[in-house]
């Protein structure tokens, strides 16, 4: 029973990282590959060439803890789930050390292996890990296939194919924007539309592309914001400038183009 107690008062800081022969970066790289505690555990089992149905729990637990400590010593921020798994392993290990109750372990009642739940979880996880690999391969093939180029001015329309998630995201943005507007309503010299267009033009030509959100955020009053908005509409309408969205639902940019600009999005 002595060991059991020892396991539960396990102290990460007392232990020293023991993995040698690898540079800090390499380890970091290696650790970065683990998608979660189950992933790390599978890796360790494979390393030990152990049978998943008969995991040498003491050894694997030690190995696992060593990695955890290493991550800590390297200052790698770690998901709490890694620590949860560490606790689980320690608990299983301690249960394995407990002598079987001769009264309870009758022939008819099978001895419940403390590792069983973990093994089931690992096997289930492994399936999805394989599925992830399959998806990865599929996407690689898919990336070797290209669709036809634009034959319409869709891109210039800056239209968005929306989901509920977008709806909420957009709403949040508006609310935030609104809040800022209210708090920022302080007295300030007003800028005219002509000046705003001039300033905007300069920005676009200097910076090639301009994040609209950033630009709008620079406005101090609601009136300025409205002026800025009108300036954007005006510049898209009259200049060789278009609105682009690089990632679906990412920020919107103003960009200089050589081709004639299309009409602004027909809201």
């Amino acid at each position: 029973m002595q060991e059991t107690v020892e396991q539960f008062v396990f102290d990460f800081h007392k232990e020293t990282a023991e993995i040698v022969g690898e540079s800090k970066d390499e380890i970091k790289l290696k650790l970065g590959e683990f998608a979660g505690p189950l992933d790390l555990l599978l890796y360790l089992i494979k390393q030990e060439q152990a049978n998943i149905f008969d995991i040498p729990i003491a050894k694997i637990t030690d190995e696992y803890l060593r990695y955890i400590r290493l991550m800590k010593s390297l200052d790698i921020a770690m998901a709490a789930d890694f620590l949860v798994m560490a606790a689980t392993l320690i608990e299983i290990k301690s249960r394995m050390l407990l002598p079987r109750d001769p009264m309870a372990a009758g022939e008819e009642e099978e001895f419940e292996d403390p590792r069983k739940e973990l093994v089931d979880q690992l096997l289930e996880y492994e399936k999805f890990k394989s599925a992830a690999q399959m998806l990865y391969e599929r996407s690689t093939v898919e990336q070797a296939v290209f669709k036809r180029g634009q034959i319409e001015s869709d891109e210039n329309n800056a239209e968005i194919n929306a989901s509920v998630f977008d709806l909420l995201t957009v709403f949040q943005k508006i609310v935030l924007r609104h809040k800022e507007q209210v708090t920022m309503e302080i007295e300030r010299e007003e800028i005219s539309l002509a000046d705003m267009i001039k300033a905007l033009k300069k920005r676009i030509f200097d910076e090639i592309e301009l994040n609209l959100l950033t630009f709008f955020e620079e406005m101090h009053t609601r009136r300025e914001l409205v002026t800025a908005f009108i300036a954007v509409l005006e510049i898209v309408r009259t200049e060789h400038v278009k609105l682009v969205q690089k990632t679906t639902f990412g920020d919107i940019f103003l960009k200089k183009v050589n081709a004639p600009a299309a009409e602004p999005a027909g809201s």
Binding site: E126, A131, A144, F146
Partner: protein, 207 residues
């Protein structure tokens, strides 16, 4: 004003949206070759994979006629061995380049293979694909790790969508895969995914 000549044919297609109410009734009799040709033209202009059903409606033909025509067209593309192929994706048809020439096409488009998902995101996507509709706690159960940021990434990439709340304690949000998922992974539909049991044998042995 670069290349104004290109504009004109494009507008021909895009604009001019006066109603084409003429002859909705006069059912045209088309040869099989004509059906194939029109299907090809429409698949080409469509931004998204187009279903046989949609094609059938536009052409006012029977869905089976269209299905057969497109399959024939697909075969023709295959036999021609050109730079293009006709694929069945997300329940619809699509013209795309052949994988063999990806290197040259990429060089032209100046793109690298992109959209590599992190291992965590891929795993999360796999769980969602096979277990949908599925909640965050259920994903945690399988992956053994919080998947919040992976889910956010997948939502932003439109690979997954919300599927309403689950009617249990706390009404957690459920997630499922999107049409974009099918398109990006080149799947006809969800049944085109290999069954999860197929990975079972691998699971034990691969270790």
């Amino acid at each position: 004003m670069t290349e104004p000549e290109t504009e004109q044919p494009e507008n021909e297609v895009v604009a001019e949206t006066e109603a084409i109410e003429q002859e909705p009734a006069e059912r045209q009799v088309r040869s099989a070759a004509e059906v194939m040709a029109i299907a090809e033209a429409i698949i080409f202009v469509s931004d998204e994979p187009i279903t046989s059903k949609a094609l059938a409606e536009i052409l006012d033909e029977h869905k089976d006629t269209i299905q057969a025509a497109v399959e024939e067209l697909q075969k023709e593309y295959e036999e021609r061995g050109g730079g293009l192929q006709i694929r069945e994706i997300a329940g619809g048809w699509q013209i795309a380049t052949r994988t063999e020439y990806h290197e040259e096409v990429r060089r032209f488009l100046k793109t690298r293979p992109s959209a590599k998902l992190s291992l965590a995101a891929l795993e999360t996507l796999a769980v969602i694909a096979y277990k949908q509709p599925v909640t965050v706690p259920e994903i945690l159960e399988i992956r053994g790790v919080q998947s919040a940021s992976a889910i956010k990434t997948l939502l932003e990439k439109r690979l997954i969508v919300t599927k309403g709340h689950k009617e249990t304690v706390g009404r957690p949000m459920q997630y499922g895969t999107s049409k974009d998922f099918l398109i990006q992974f080149g799947l006809k539909d969800l049944s085109d995914l290999p069954s999860i049991e197929d990975f079972e044998d691998l699971a034990g042995t691969a270790l």
